[in-house]
């Protein structure tokens, strides 16, 4: 037959649609990255390569402030959520089933199910009441909300790693009279480390991304990088936003690549 060899897995049009979609998925992001290096003041015309928007963003006090706040919140939230998620993951995979396990699952996954806007509204009301009662205006609200929101994202990779791990080493350690704590420190923790690192990275990325919850519960002057950008988008857009977006993008891609490599080596 002169026709192309018949392939059972081919559907006409599927490959072109898929490839076009991949291009369209990346095109807008790539455009932002390219225009962040634009020397021209206009957002539409290309005026040659320049780093001036990065310099402008770097020198902008509001941006510095928001960046620092974002990093502080994301670091604390990633640490806290990863620690508590590790404990919960060990409790829900390394032990015999117990009553209430489903409740714990539902609670941990709850931030993934409830729309972010609803959580944001709930926290707004709750924290407003606490503000009135205590007068506290600090970063604690944002850190608490971000830590809670990041728990499922830290939990999932840790749990996946635990489920793929062989129990025999831990049993062997116990047979050799290791205490549960020693078994955990010397056996479980080192084996689990890539999962924990992966969970922490996802938690960090998610905290950096969270915009709706932050926008609702931040006190005055507590902009994070995403809420700062959201505020800027309401006004005239400057190419400075492109530069900030690109920098944030680069950080995310870096962390995700590390995550990808960490989880890939398993098995």
């Amino acid at each position: 037959m002169a026709r192309r060899r018949f392939s059972v897995t081919r559907f006409p049009g599927f490959a072109p649609i898929a490839l076009t979609a991949f291009v369209l998925l990346y095109a807008p992001i790539i455009i932002i990255v390219i225009y962040s290096f634009n020397a021209s003041d206009s957002v539409a015309l290309w005026g040659g390569f320049s780093l001036k928007w990065y310099v402008a963003a770097w020198g902008n006090e509001a941006v510095q402030d928001a960046t620092l706040r974002s990093l502080v919140i994301a670091s604390v939230a990633a640490c806290v959520s990863t620690i508590v998620a590790t404990m919960a993951a060990i409790a829900t995979t390394r032990r015999s089933r117990f009553r209430g396990q489903t409740f714990i699952y539902v609670m941990i996954n709850q931030p993934l199910m409830v729309p972010e806007i609803v959580t944001a509204v709930a926290l707004l009301i709750f924290f407003a009441a606490i503000r009135v009662a205590t007068g506290y205006q600090g970063l604690g609200y944002l850190i608490l909300a971000h830590s809670a929101f990041c728990i499922p994202f830290a939990y999932l990779p840790i749990r996946a790693r635990l489920e793929g791990m062989d129990l025999s080493l831990e049993t062997a350690a116990a047979d050799l009279y290791a205490t549960p704590w020693m078994t955990f420190r010397r056996i479980t923790l080192p084996l689990l480390a890539p999962g924990i690192a992966a969970g922490a990275m996802l938690a960090f990325v998610i905290s950096l991304d969270t915009v709706v919850i932050t926008e609702f519960i931040k006190s005055a002057g507590q902009d994070t990088l995403p809420t700062y950008m959201l505020g800027q988008l309401r006004r005239a857009i400057t190419p400075e936003v492109n530069a900030i977006a690109t920098a944030l993008l680069a950080l995310t891609v870096l962390l995700l690549t590390a995550f990808f490599l960490l989880t890939r080596r398993r098995g």
């Binding site: 049009g13 898929a18 620690i83 709930a122």
Partner: protein, 299 residues
């Protein structure tokens, strides 16, 4: 089990307690306060007056004339509900039509390439939603790439107004949520036994028949999962309609926000949040029922 302690259940609960406490105070608990607030009277500037009333629920669907007290359906609210529902359904359909070929394409790559293609889908998935929405805005603006390109090619002479329309919101949401459709579809197709296709073709089925009668029924759990994963965040979307829709094309999420801002009607906002939550939970229940039924059918 490693070193069985005297009371395993108690240790498990102790280990889970810090996570549970954080989730109760930082996420789930305050939802109960929303339930209470939905039955209170709005305060004059913001907040509530502690007086029981079902007025907020009434106000969701009806409005009362200030002068003669006649009751009529709240058309503005119904328009917003309808727009949210319509845009969410359209977003789900659009992502399915584009996502199915993408998932199929990834699943039929050689094993060593598959991880790379999957990674290419995952990057946008984890990339800041705000940045992706902003990127779409840059493309469809009147002076944006799309319009400039079309004008230079001579297709149009004046820029088309896409930004701040419902179409813009649809494009943005489909773009932003596409990976949520592709990933579960891929998971379903990946487990697919391709010998079934051979069997179909041996029995003289056409490509279309194979797709409709063999592929779609078998990857159904993936379709359901992807649809729910796209539909749920679409319905609650806030950032995308706010940036791409402007003030005129509000969705439920923006309408809720309005009640806590200029609207100054916290109970109404609380009632709207609960309605949104209820719809989402129903969608999730359908999902759980469909997937568990599929599981039991396949053993």
């Amino acid at each position: 089990m490693a070193a069985p302690p005297r009371s395993p259940a108690r240790t498990s609960w102790l280990l889970s307690t810090p996570a549970l406490l954080l989730l109760i105070f930082g996420a789930a608990g305050p939802l109960l306060i929303v339930l209470v607030y939905a039955f209170l009277e709005p305060g004059e500037y913001s907040g509530v007056v502690w007086q029981f009333t079902t007025e907020a629920w009434f106000r969701v669907f009806f409005e009362r004339d200030i002068f003669d007290g006649t009751v009529s359906p709240a058309d503005a609210h119904l328009t917003i509900f309808w727009r949210s529902l319509e845009l969410s359904v359209l977003t789900t359909l659009t992502t399915f039509v584009i996502g199915l070929p993408m998932a199929w394409f990834i699943a039929t790559r050689p094993a060593n390439q598959r991880a790379i293609w999957l990674f290419l889908i995952t990057i946008p998935f984890w990339t800041n939603l705000l940045i992706r929405t902003f990127a779409i805005m840059e493309v469809i603006r009147n002076q944006g790439i799309l319009n400039s390109l079309l004008i230079r090619l001579g297709v149009i002479s004046d820029p088309i107004q896409i930004l701040y329309t419902e179409t813009a919101v649809l494009i943005g949401m489909a773009y932003v949520y596409l990976p949520l459709m592709v990933l579960p579809l891929f998971a379903a197709i990946d487990r697919f036994d391709f010998r079934l296709l051979e069997a179909g073709y041996d029995l003289y089925a056409s490509r279309w028949q194979v797709l409709r009668r063999i592929v779609l029924p078998i990857v159904r759990p993936g379709i359901v999962a992807g649809s729910i994963l796209v539909f749920v965040p679409s319905l609650g979307a806030y950032v995308t309609p706010r940036i791409l829709g402007g003030g005129k094309n509000m969705m439920i999420g923006n309408f809720i926000e309005l009640q806590f801002g200029q609207g100054r009607n916290w109970p109404l906002g609380a009632a709207l949040s609960l309605i949104l939550l209820a719809i989402v939970l129903i969608a999730l229940l359908i999902y759980v029922r469909v997937t568990t039924r599929e599981d039991s059918r396949h053993g």
